[in-house]
């Protein structure tokens, strides 16, 4: 049971949501945007977040949009992962979503919540990073479109009252060869020891990781090593791992040496598989 109560509103437009946020902030309610709500409920139950005002963003049409707009796939922030998994409009995203939590939870967890949540893994962002997605942000002056690399730096850098309304992906990115792998400590379902998503674009392999370091990331210098044709397979992988500039996690899920071992095997497999596709 959540040990405190809060006000709850479900506005039907993003401008209304922003107005409520601003008003509640002045009133000292410490407002919070609510999408799938799974993280908010579980953290509130344990008193890890405090709020007196919950703004449910599932009532606004932009957040529920899902489909093609010319050559862009539009995904509303409130679309549940189970829908993305089933629809397969962006097959790499479908595959990654299929490995986040379990199916029933995925009927509630949303893409917006997964990317912006406090739980560090944020696996749904990996396909968006390699596909150079665009984020649509709701702001006081209207909707803003910003490249994901300018918004996401391990965490989403959006300052309330602004919030994430949609993500958009170019059609050509959704048709490229792709691979994704996830390893957990024990079971099929669980937080990742290593989770990765990759595509083979014209400029070579693009790859993003979660579970490996504190926050998810895509690194151009790692990709440069993986695409270096002058090196052998083993030395490409070795140099790529050396280019990871943040510490590799060492926690109760896995030691950093074990994570590196898994990563190196996965990278070898991925390069080989992409080589076979492109031959």
């Amino acid at each position: 049971m959540i040990p405190y109560n809060f006000d709850y509103e479900k506005p039907s437009s993003f401008s209304e949501a922003i107005s409520i946020y601003e008003k509640w902030e002045v009133d000292g309610k410490n407002p919070i945007y609510y999408c799938g709500g799974t993280e908010i409920i579980t953290m509130a139950r344990m008193d890890q977040i405090q709020t007196k005002g919950v703004i449910d963003i599932k009532g606004m049409p932009e957040c529920l949009d899902f489909g093609w707009e010319k050559d862009q796939l539009v995904i509303g922030a409130a679309i549940p992962l189970a829908k993305l998994e089933e629809e397969k409009a962006f097959p790499l995203l479908s595959r990654v979503c299929n490995r986040i939590a379990d199916h029933t939870s995925r009927c509630k967890i949303t893409i917006g919540g997964n990317i912006t949540g406090k739980i560090n893994y944020r696996e749904a962002v990996l396909p968006l990073l390699v596909a150079d997605a665009t984020c649509v942000i709701a702001s006081k002056t209207g909707m803003k479109q910003i490249p994901i690399h300018d918004v996401f730096d391990g965490k989403v850098q959006i300052q309330p009252p602004e919030f994430l309304l949609q993500v958009r992906v170019e059609r050509k990115m959704t048709t490229l060869p792709y691979l994704s792998e996830k390893r957990t400590k024990i079971d099929r379902i669980g937080y990742p020891v290593v989770s990765l998503a990759a595509i083979h674009a014209e400029d070579g392999i693009r790859i993003a990781f979660s579970g490996l370091c504190t926050d998810p990331f895509r690194s151009l210098s790692v990709e440069e090593e993986l695409n270096n044709r002058s090196q052998s397979l083993e030395s490409k992988v070795q140099s790529a791992i050396e280019k990871i500039s943040v510490p590799i996690l060492d926690d109760h899920h896995a030691s950093s040496a074990y994570r590196k071992f898994i990563l190196s095997n996965l990278l070898v497999d991925i390069i080989k598989e992409f080589d076979e596709v492109s031959e």
Binding site: M1, N5, D7, Y8, I41, D102, T104, C107, K108, R188
Partner: protein
């Protein structure tokens, strides 16, 4: 402060007094006496609290009751002699029974959405529920007996 809301549960309009912070699980059990949805982990991990909302399984411990306004909510009390309930009895797909209503709700939603589900789909959906008594083999047999009748 409690407030009155209306929820459509098992085809009937019900009036409930809740706090905005109450989960659907709490509202069902403590306000409506519908105790079929069980509290297990209350953290989204075990599936004992599963209900069906608009045809899809949902864990009622990670959903606020207010989110249910305007939605068709089905609990185990709303199922009557469905093929999957019969199959659970025939195959003895339970021991203590604590997880059973959650499993049945998930299986029922699956059968309705994918009446000829392949093994990979069944596994994907059913991994959402945990049975501490490890009745997994019998649960699998129960689902497959309904699926084979469907085909």
């Amino acid at each position: 402060m409690n407030r009155q809301i209306h929820l459509n549960i098992n085809g009937e309009e019900k009036s409930v007094y809740i706090r905005n912070a109450d989960t659907l699980l709490t509202a069902l059990r403590e306000q409506l006496g519908l105790t079929g949805a069980k509290p297990g982990c209350e953290n989204g991990d075990c599936g004992a609290c599963t209900v069906i909302i608009e045809g899809m399984p949902q864990k009622s411990c990670i959903m606020l009751a207010v989110e249910g306004i305007g939605k068709q909510i089905t609990t185990i009390e709303g199922l009557n002699n469905t093929p999957i309930q019969q199959a659970f009895l025939e195959k003895w797909a339970f021991q203590c029974g604590y997880c059973t209503s959650g499993f049945i709700m998930n299986c029922h939603a699956l059968m309705e959405k994918h009446p000829d589900a392949e093994d990979v789909v069944v596994e994907n959906w059913l991994q959402s529920n945990i049975c501490r008594c490890t009745s997994y083999q019998e649960i699998k047999e129960a689902i497959h007996s309904v699926l084979s009748k469907n085909s």
